[in-house]
Symmetry: C2
Amino acid sequence: MSASHQTEGLFPRGTAITSEHFRGTVWLEMLISDAVFNCPIGNVTFEPGARNSWHKHPGGQILLVTGGSGFYQERGKPARRLSCGDVVKILPDLEHWHGAAPDSVFSHIAITTNPQKGGAVWMEPLSDDEYRSATRKIGN
Amino acid sequence: MSASHQTEGLFPRGTAITSEHFRGTVWLEMLISDAVFNCPIGNVTFEPGARNSWHKHPGGQILLVTGGSGFYQERGKPARRLSCGDVVKILPDLEHWHGAAPDSVFSHIAITTNPQKGGAVWMEPLSDDEYRSATRKIGN
């Protein structure tokens, strides 16, 4: 395992996402998109400070953290700090965001569950103040 | 990331499997078993030389390799050597086995796809001769 795996995760980084729903540079490699599996899986890599907007998944989502340090926050709750080996269960229709810590790359596998229920529903971006507050509140 | 992560994978090892369908010591930690996700996910860790019997999944399975070195073989084909970052797409009803290399621990995430189609269908054990032949044929 090389040094790059330790900070960027085990799976290929893929290509940079071009989307208004992401802030900062975020890379995506789809690992599984074959219809037969009914289970889209992507490897997502956030550069330090990068994150997505508030959003929800009609069928839920699972995150498996494979590298670096990041945060996951559900609307109305404190953010949860994430590191290698953490598993996040995102229930259907639960509003949340996830992204890297301010000072670390962050990689996770993202598994879309029950994809027949539809894709992500995007809401407003996380503001810089929300991000600073969320990532500052937790002692680390 | 500690040295143990490099050989045992990122996720918890869990408990030893007691099953006639596994040979050698194999550990399982279920990461996701909540019905709402319809997507059972386990972290499986094989000690060197450990493997499962020939089997198939009615709804398919996906393996994401997170540590060590192992093998995957479909019936009638040469075995494929696996290491960190490899992804294995196991189509529904395709007969196969997977396990560790003779000289390495091996860890992978196992995702059961389309679980409503039923659990694994087990067949005969991989013999020692089949294992030696499968793991010897590939130059490494």
